[in-house]
């Protein structure tokens, strides 16, 4: 794991600089971040508060009636520690109203609906408060496709997308996110008792090592097996990365014209900024 270790001072400087730069370039001063009480959104809020000042960060709590009460308590702890602005929107009425018409919907559909409900609330408050939506998806989740497309994966600016989960924890400790948040079991909190690691079937420590070599160091599956990694595990991880590629791209566009968006019409995202 040694190589996954971050030089936290420098990474902190790079990420706060990134938030400040990308937010201001887009003509904004504020960000809006959904606070789940977990380590990712807590770290994002800490970095944003440092980059923009606490008064420019809005933490939005969006509990559902089955959410673990600890989640809201931890989100409130982040708000209090940082002195950022906050508000809470209960998503139970909207989500329950929708599923009243289809009561047999499974966990996955309900979880996705909640994630997308929260997204619409964040973007509404983005418009109301004049702040960009700050993304909180980390590199592990993005690579595994362990997130809801147009739900928690949606944002304007994401400071954490190139940090593996274990690196998020390192940096969170470094910037003094409360220990109780850093050390608890990660959970999407979409249903009672859910934990990421139980649902994924492996620990973040394990998968981050494989992803780091596969992605950052361009190992082939065979190279990892030769290094002593379990072949079935490595293949399963590779399969997840490959299978979720569509989630990391814009929808595929049928090419008709001489210049198609994102194909041969290529401008930087910071075009004109």
């Amino acid at each position: 794991m040694h190589e996954l270790r971050l030089q936290c001072d420098t990474v902190q400087q790079i990420l706060t600089g990134f938030i400040d730069n990308e937010v201001r370039k887009a003509g904004f001063e504020r960000v809006v971040v959904g606070l789940s009480g977990g380590v990712d959104s807590s770290l994002a809020a800490f970095l944003a508060a440092e980059a923009l000042g606490p008064h420019n960060v809005w933490g939005i709590l969006m509990p559902y009636r089955t959410s673990n009460p600890e989640s809201a308590a931890h989100a409130a702890l982040v708000v209090k520690t940082l002195g950022i602005q906050s508000l809470s929107v209960d998503i139970s009425p909207m989500v329950d109203a929708y599923f009243a018409a289809c009561p047999d919907a499974d966990h996955v559909r309900r979880g996705n609906k909640m994630a997308r409900e929260r997204m619409t609330i964040l973007f509404d408050h983005s418009a109301r408060l004049g702040g960009l939506v700050l993304g909180t998806s980390n590199k592990t989740e993005l690579l595994l496709g362990y997130g809801t497309l147009y739900g928690d994966m949606a944002s304007a600016v994401n400071p954490l997308g190139d940090l593996y989960k274990t690196q998020v924890r390192q940096l969170a400790r470094h910037v003094k996110v409360p220990t109780v948040i850093v050390e608890k079991q990660p959970s999407a909190d979409l249903w009672a008792g859910q934990t990421d690691e139980a649902e994924l079937g492996f620990t973040y420590e394990e998968v981050d090592r494989v992803l780091y070599l596969l992605v950052d160091h361009r190992y082939e599956v065979a190279d990892l097996v030769a290094e002593g990694f379990d072949e079935r595990f490595v293949r399963a991880v590779h399969h997840k990365v490959q299978g979720s590629q569509y989630k990391r791209r814009l929808p595929v566009i049928a090419k008709v014209s001489s210049r198609t968006i994102d194909r041969d019409f290529r401008y930087p995202r910071d075009w004109g900024r």
Binding site: L6, Q7, T10, V11, Q13, I14, G17, F18, N21, E22, D216, F265, R266, Y267, P268, R269, D270, W271, G272, R273
Partner: protein
């Protein structure tokens, strides 16, 4: 003993906005003039920003463009190396850097090695230069090599064998790989490369890297002036804008070349002979040792 002041404008150019960047250049130049700087080096593509993509033709300038007049005029007061997209004959676009001195452009280097791998895509948008030349300046003989050019050691060799005493290296290096010593893995490589070149080619090296963010990529700064024994004479901060100024003494170059007469002993004929042999052998087996399947 003759002394002169070298400076690096470690700036964060505005992406695709030549007008704003010209104003930034003038501001930095005036600041440098107030500190009696003789030569001010700006980073790669300092007038345009780096990840331009399809904007390349929109921001390109011909070397004679009136837009460059304010900088030409300022170059009566200090010499400058300025990075821009040059529109050459046949509407080819080059990643170029100009040496301005005494009110005119004395030399233009067009980047020879256009990286097209990893996060880079330069060959898609730009034409490659075909020359590496040293040229005479008021401060001595110099050569310009742009960023990736430096990662091909032959370029620095050619510049030195052509008489360069000062290697001018405008760069736009985005940080990659979290580093243990510097901010990024590639920053450490850069620091080793420029110090080794100073040492091996017994010349001054001025590494002018930019800072700022483009599309989430972060340019790491850390601009540096290296002396002809490989010592770091001055180094700018990582990640932050800075005008790095350092006074150097021309005599250091003579002493380094007396102590280490590496350039005197260089065997160019031998190098050329071996290069011809290597090229011939590659021509004979164009598909590599295994041949075609």
């Amino acid at each position: 003993m003759r002394r002169f002041r070298l400076a690096v404008a470690q700036i964060a150019p505005f992406l695709g906005d030549v007008e704003k960047n010209l104003a930034l250049h003038e501001k930095m130049a005036r600041e440098a003039i107030s500190q009696s700087v003789n030569l001010l080096v700006f980073p790669e593509l300092s007038l345009t920003g780096y990840f331009l993509k399809d904007q390349v033709p929109s921001v390109a300038l011909k070397a004679v463009a009136p837009a460059l007049e304010p900088l030409r005029s300022l170059s009566h007061r200090l010499a400058m190396v300025v990075g821009f997209v040059e529109e050459g004959p046949g509407h080819l676009f080059y990643n170029a850097a100009a040496y301005l001195e005494g009110g005119e452009i004395r030399h233009i280097h067009r980047k020879v090695y256009l990286p097209t791998y990893g996060i880079f895509d330069e060959q898609r948008y730009l034409a490659a230069g075909g020359r590496i030349r040293a040229f005479d300046t008021a401060l001595g003989r110099a050569a310009i090599l742009i960023c990736e050019d430096l990662w091909h050691p032959a370029t620095a060799g050619i510049a030195a064998w052509d008489g360069a005493e000062i290697l001018l290296c405008p760069s736009a290096s985005p940080g990659r790989g979290t580093g243990r010593d510097g901010p990024f893995q590639n920053a450490r490589t850069w620091e080793q490369v420029i110090r080794a070149y100073g040492d091996l080619f017994t010349c001054f090296v001025v590494f002018a890297n930019r800072v700022g963010y483009e599309d989430g990529a972060c340019f790491w700064g850390g601009s540096e002036v290296v002396g002809p024994t490989g010592d770091s004479l001055a180094k700018a901060r990582y990640l932050e804008e800075e005008l790095l100024v350092v006074e150097v003494e021309a005599g250091a170059l003579r002493r380094a070349r007396v102590a280490n007469p590496l350039l005197r002993d260089e065997r160019l004929e031998l190098t050329l002979r071996e290069l011809r042999r290597i090229i011939r052998s590659r021509e004979q087996e164009p598909t590599g040792a295994g041949g075609e399947p």
